[in-house]
């Protein structure tokens, strides 16, 4: 598998570590405990997964590269990657000049 890191270009799977489902929003801690986010919200965030067969939005960490966290859209049946974006304040970082990709 090649993951198209927006910063480094397409890189081998072996350079990345998996971060799992990226669709879960962390409940707002300031409304808990006591109000706002419920225990169930936190359970949902920490333990429950949609685990779809097909399109999956997921985190990958380019730990042996630019060390950026990426949000990757990948099909869990074909393993085909639709796209990847940088997560967080470095999303607009200057990409490295890319060479031809598969």
């Amino acid at each position: 598998m090649l993951i198209p890191c927006p910063h480094c270009g397409p890189r081998d799977l072996g350079e990345f570590t998996y971060g799992g489902d990226a669709t879960r929003d962390r409940p707002d801690p300031h409304s808990s405990p006591g109000g706002g986010a419920s225990a169930e919200d936190w359970c949902g965030y920490v333990f429950y997964r949609d685990n779809p067969r097909g399109r999956h939005v997921e985190y990958w960490h380019h730990g042996q590269g630019c060390r950026l966290w990426l949000k990757v859209v990948r099909d869990t049946v074909t393993h085909k990657i639709e796209g990847a974006e940088i997560v967080g304040p470095w999303a607009d970082a200057e990409p490295k000049k890319q060479r031809g990709a598969a």
């Binding site: 405990p33 965030y45 920490v46």
Partner: protein, 985 residues
């Protein structure tokens, strides 16, 4: 005796070799198979189950029968197909799965029990008389099973890894592949052309049609030719695995050469031109040595100058096999009869048959092979496509070799690994590549195109299309001219040629002894889906992976189910295409290099001083510095005692170190740690706890505030990488608004902890510019300064409970600072100490470490509840109060002292002294143990059910694995100086 060397053969250098200890001679260019065939050897091995004699069946990777053990000792290589072994001087080969000898194998009695040893028989028996029965039977079954014998000696050879990138990878260098590579290269693409054979060119090899273009290709810069290279696996995103056999054709690798080289090839486009494999037709005793695939017979004649027999018969259902007739006739080999299932054959085939002088029996099939250990003749009957073979009209034909062709099976393995289900072609009676799910194209025989001229054309087109897909304008070379030849275009679908009551065992899978009757039995018992058929009969599960048998098995099941072949289904192929050595897959990352070894800046010093080193994850750390003949315990006790009495120093460079900077750094740390960090003043350190989101304890360490916006965080050795990764995640995905950057500085800083009452004196003696007084550098204080001009950070932290300091300096200065400190400590008897003594000191203080932070404990379990703030939010705060985490029955940290002087063992469990149950109930377990020089007894930390309420209880630390019980008393985990007066001194 069958085969022999043809007079017409170009004779190369003589090559000496042995088979089963007997000396033979072959010639350069031979395979082991061709050389043995030339020497008249027709018995190569014994079959898996019935131990039937087996000969040579093919001339390639599909070989099911001629398996030998190559070499001996540490280089012994079992289950090697004689058909792919290139002969070299001194080669030693041994036959397999026979006793006492190949010719006389007593296990052949299994053949008599044939009907009992039907498919799946073992599921139906060996179950009694008692439950233990299987253990008895299995002992013999294991011995009888298997094929070759592997060595117990380490493989002496080396394996290499390569990563390659190209525009177009062409797999297979036959007519189609060669032209694809030529065309793509001509267009300017970077091309890799790989082929499993020693010489490229496939069926055209050695002819000018191939040698000229190949010479041109090899002279092209952007082209890599990889002969002897099998592309075995097609993985995601056009990543392909290949193995190059670098030295298997030599007696041993020459110096510096690997035996094999693994290639990971990332290609933008792939052309699959992997050819096709001929398949046989089933008849009675079709496994007899002397029965061989038709095209194999041709190859032995044309490539090696070896006749497959002296009286050869042919059995076919297609025109393609007549190429073999032509080749044998041209070489002067006598062909006695051509048994042709069809009534009508192609003109060219008919001309070849006539010219050969063989008797042409159209509308006939071979029903049985005749002879003893090898073929002496065949039984032939008339055949009607609807009625099958005649039951009565038989005749016998003398033959010492029968060439069989039942048509061709395109080599779909790679296409299937990266594609949709295969498509059935009724005319070719073959499966063809399905939809391409990755950027590949198939060309040539693997695409069902058997004629050379068409394959050349199709290859060129595939190469052009692949290059175009990479953005290269097509620039096609001229197509070479190919000779006209008969082609296996429309084989008559004859799968099993036997009449209804045919005699002899009829094999589908030769290596696993799966017969047509086994397929029928599988059907009868309901194992009807392809996968059930395979698993129940083991069809296609042998080392040849069913290359010549899978389609036949499917056809026979289709006959039983009265369905068409595609309705029965097809098998999806998984890597590898042919078996791949574990050595090649492992590459260089094995043995000592299995994982990287991380060494601290002080590693050489430790080793020079005789430290016993110990792995801590990937790091190596000094365990003890033994003196004289000290045991581990004597050494650590001496080291720990010296620290408490005077001063010692330990290498703490392996701790994770993370530089945290930015205006929001303090806020960030305050959210990451369970205790407060907002108010940590500059020049101060604080011990912090990190929880997981689920509220369980994760990591601990001290974090030092170096300036308003800069912190140095330390983590445990084990969690250095995951903590950094988590911090980066939080800053990217959870709190992107925080202006903080984190960087690993673990390897940039060398760290050493100087501990003991004299530690202040030692550091004061060498430090240039730090006031070491208690007032100027209080407990938890951090100062920057210099030692011998080297910039250092000095933090007054204590893991040992003594007055202690951690000194950090740039890693390259580590050894200099370390020795300088030791020199300064000489007057105090300062010693280096290892992780054992480090453990002793922390256990005496009740500090937790890895064995307590096991991923299942909470801060409260470990007596650290006060460090979990209830006044702020942090990672884990939302879930730390859940019922399961606050259950009073949880295991909690307490201390233990041995009350009978016995040695408490780590891993022991705690049981009540009066528990008489057998086995008694575990109340918890011992996590860390040491002999305490301070208390002069064995002490331990452990996790105990509701521990703190049991202080003073008398329990037993039981170790049933060694039948050792030690009486213990539950005590506070803070064994030594619980007030902490020493570290505040």
């Amino acid at each position: 005796m069958s085969g022999y060397r043809l007079e017409s053969a170009r004779i190369g250098d003589t090559v000496n070799f042995t088979f089963d200890g007997k000396r033979y001679q072959g010639v350069a260019g031979d395979t082991l198979a061709s050389a043995l065939l030339a020497n008249g050897v027709d018995l190569f091995g014994r079959s898996f189950k019935y131990h039937r004699p087996r000969g040579l069946f093919s001339a390639g990777v599909e070989e099911p029968s001629a398996l030998v053990t190559l070499g001996c000792g540490a280089r012994a290589e079992p289950n090697t197909r004689a058909t792919v072994v290139e002969l070299f001087e001194g080669l030693e080969a041994t036959s397999q799965n026979r006793w006492p000898s190949l010719a006389l194998d007593v296990m052949a009695v299994n053949g008599l029990a044939g009907p009992i040893l039907s498919a799946g028989f073992y599921y139906k028996t060996f179950m009694g008389p008692t439950r233990k029965a299987w253990k008895f039977y299995e002992h013999f079954i294991r011995k009888a099973a298997g094929l070759g014998k592997a060595s117990f000696l380490p493989d002496p050879d080396r394996y290499e890894e390569m990563n390659a990138f190209c525009d177009v990878l062409v797999v297979g260098a036959g007519p189609a592949g060669m032209m694809a590579a030529m065309t793509a290269a001509n267009s300017g693409a970077r091309v890799i052309l790989a082929d499993e054979q020693s010489t490229l060119g496939g069926n055209l090899r050695d002819s000018a049609v191939a040698t000229n273009p190949l010479a041109k290709l090899s002279a092209t810069d952007e082209v890599t030719l990889l002969p002897r290279t099998t592309v075995y696996g097609y993985y995601d995103d056009n990543t392909l695995g290949a193995v190059e056999r670098v030295a298997d054709h030599l007696p041993a690798p020459v110096k510096g050469q690997p035996r094999e080289r693994h290639w990971t090839i990332r290609a933008r486009q792939v052309v699959i031109a992997t050819g096709a494999i001929e398949r046989p037709i089933v008849f009675g005793d079709n496994d007899k040595p002397g029965v061989m695939l038709a095209d194999a017979g041709r190859l032995y004649v044309e490539r090696h100058g070896v006749a497959p027999g002296r009286q050869v018969a042919l059995f076919t259902n297609n025109d393609g096999a007549y190429r073999s007739v032509a080749a044998l006739s041209a070489a002067g080999v006598a062909i006695t009869a051509i048994v042709e299932a069809r009534q009508e054959i192609g003109d060219q085939a008919r001309r070849i048959a006539a010219a050969s002088g063989a008797e042409l029996l159209t509308g006939h099939v071979v029903t049985r092979a005749l002879g003893g250990q090898s073929l002496s003749g065949i039984a032939v009957a008339t055949f009607d496509p609807k009625q099958g073979a005649s039951e009565s009209a038989h005749r016998h034909v003398a033959a010492d070799c029968l060439l069989v062709s039942g048509g061709w099976t395109p080599t779909l393995h790679l296409a299937s690994q990266a594609g949709g289900p295969a498509r059935w072609d009724d005319t070719l009676t073959a499966f063809l590549p399905g939809e391409a799910l990755q950027p590949w194209r198939a060309a040539g025989a693997c695409n069902g195109t058997f004629a050379t001229a068409t394959a050349l054309d199709q290859g060129a087109a595939a190469g052009a299309a692949a290059a175009a897909a990479c953005g290269f304008a097509s620039n096609a070379p001229d197509l070479p001219q190919a000779d006209d030849e008969p082609v296996a275009e429309a084989p008559l679908p004859v799968w099993d040629a036997r009449p209804k009551h045919g005699k002899g065992k009829a094999f589908v899978d030769l290596q696993h002894d799966v017969t047509a009757a086994d397929v029928s039995l599988a059907h009868r018992e309901g194992f009807r889906s392809v996968e059930h058929l395979k698993r129940y009969t083991t069809l296609g599960m042998a080392t040849d992976q069913g290359k010549t048998s899978n389609v036949i098995g499917l056809a026979l099941m289709a006959r039983e189910r009265q369905l068409s072949i595609p309705e029965v289904g097809t098998t999806r192929f998984r890597p590898p295409y042919t078996p791949v050595s574990l050595g090649a897959l492992a590459g260089q990352a094995r043995g000592a290099n299995f994982r990287p070894t991380r060494r601290t800046a002080l590693h050489d010093w430790h080793e020079a001083k005789g430290a016993e080193m110990q792995a801590a994850g990937l790091w190596m750390r000094p365990r003890i510095y033994p003196q004289g003949g000290e045991t581990v315990e004597q050494a650590y006790v001496r080291e720990a005692r010296q620290v408490r009495q005077s001063v010692g120093m330990v290498d703490v460079s392996t701790l994770g170190k993370i530089d945290v900077q930015g205006p929001d750094a303090a806020e960030f740390l305050n959210r990451v740690y369970s205790n407060g960090f907002l108010k940590l003043p500059e020049g101060k350190a604080r011990y912090g706890l990190m929880l997981r989101e689920d509220g369980f304890l994760w990591d601990d360490g001290t974090t030092w505030r170096l300036s308003e916006a800069r912190f140095l965080m330390t983590t445990t050795t084990a969690n250095a990488a995951p903590v950094l990764s988590q911090l980066e995640f939080l800053l990217a995905a959870v709190w992107p608004e925080l202006k903080v950057a984190v960087t690993s500085v673990t390897e940039q800083w060398a760290g050493m902890a100087v501990s003991g009452p004299k530690s202040r004196d030692v550091i004061a003696a060498v430090v240039d510019d730090i006031d070491m007084s208690n007032e100027a550098l209080p407990f938890m204080g951090v100062r920057a300064g210099h030692i011998g001009g080297v910039p250092v950070l000095v933090a007054r932290l204590s893991f040992s409970g003594e007055l202690a300091y951690e000194v950090y300096c740039g890693a390259h200065h580590g050894a200099a600072v370390w020795t300088r400190l030791l020199e300064a400590g000489e007057p105090f008897g300062m010693i280096p100490y290892g992780v054992e003594a480090l453990g002793t000191l922390r256990i005496e203080k009740g500090h937790v470490a890895g064995p307590e932070l096991d991923g299942r404990t909470t801060a409260e379990d470990l007596g650290l509840a006060a460090m979990v703030s209830t006044r702020k939010h942090f990672i884990g705060s939302a879930m730390v109060q859940r019922e399961g985490l606050t259950d009073p029955q949880r295991l909690k940290l307490v201390g233990f002292v041995s009350t009978d002087g016995g040695k408490i063992r780590p891993g022991a469990h705690l049981v009540a002294a009066n528990d008489t149950a057998s086995p008694p109930r575990s109340l918890g377990h011992i996590t860390s143990v040491t002999y305490s020089p301070a208390l002069e007894k064995y002490i331990a930390l452990g996790l105990l059910e509701d521990g703190p309420s049991r202080l003073g209880a008398k329990l037993v630390a039981t170790y049933p694995l060694k039948n050792i019980d030690v009486a213990v008393e539950v005590v506070s985990p803070h064994f030594f100086d619980p007030e902490g007066s020493r570290m505040h001194a």
